[in-house]
Symmetry: C2
Subunit: 131 residues, 2 copies
């Protein structure tokens, strides 16, 4: 189980979090924004907004259009886009190690109720997001 | 500037994030849930829900009622509540160090536009949360 979800703010309007990274990873895998969004259960519009936000965040592009192939062209990561993902994934691993050591003594105080999966995923997600 | 915001999931329904920790810190400082919520610009109901969630997350209570004083009683952190805050703050510091080293080479690629403060804070916050 992944322990930590994190967002890094590189500047007031330049942030990287689990949503953007998952999107870039799905684009690398699927080669299409439509298919990447579908894989993640994200609306096309939301995925597009995340990419727009990334486009305005950095001086280098994170994706580029591909031409041809099935469906008549798609999108792929640039070298810089792949670097964003690689750095985030590496940091995530190291942050998980830090968090495991910092919070290990608390795990035995988790209630049995909290250890069970949430009965309604949507509600649980909204509570987690709120926290 | 704090670089990273993170949430740790100790179990499916047991998570700690910046909102809950800020609330516990404000309770320790103000001695009242109403005042803590006001300090953070949180509704009383939202603050109460966060505390309820914490109450169901752990076997030990994180806050307890205080009796007497101005306003006729309030709330304070238990020893365990204070421990949650202490561990989170310590982990936050170490995670910031990890993130700074992992993302340092990207800072020079942040666009000038993204380096300026957002013109409309509410909108910027919703985009960040989305990411």
């Amino acid at each position: 189980m992944q322990l930590v979800r994190f967002r890094i703010d590189l500047a007031p309007r330049c942030s990287l979090g689990p949503g953007k990274i998952a999107l870039l990873e799905a684009i690398a895998e699927r080669g299409s924004l439509t298919q990447a969004a579908a894989t993640l259960g994200m609306s096309y519009r939301y995925a597009w907004l995340l990419l727009e936000d990334l486009k305005h965040s950095f001086t280098a592009p994170v994706t580029r259009a591909t031409i041809g192939g099935r469906g008549g062209g798609g999108v792929e990561l640039t070298k810089f886009g792949a670097e964003l993902v690689r750095r985030y994934v590496k940091a995530r691993h190291r942050i998980d190690v830090v968090a495991r050591s910092a919070f290990a003594p608390l795990v035995k105080k988790v209630s049995t109720r909290a250890s069970r999966p949430a009965p309604d995923k949507k509600r649980a997600r909204s509570i987690k997001r709120a926290a």
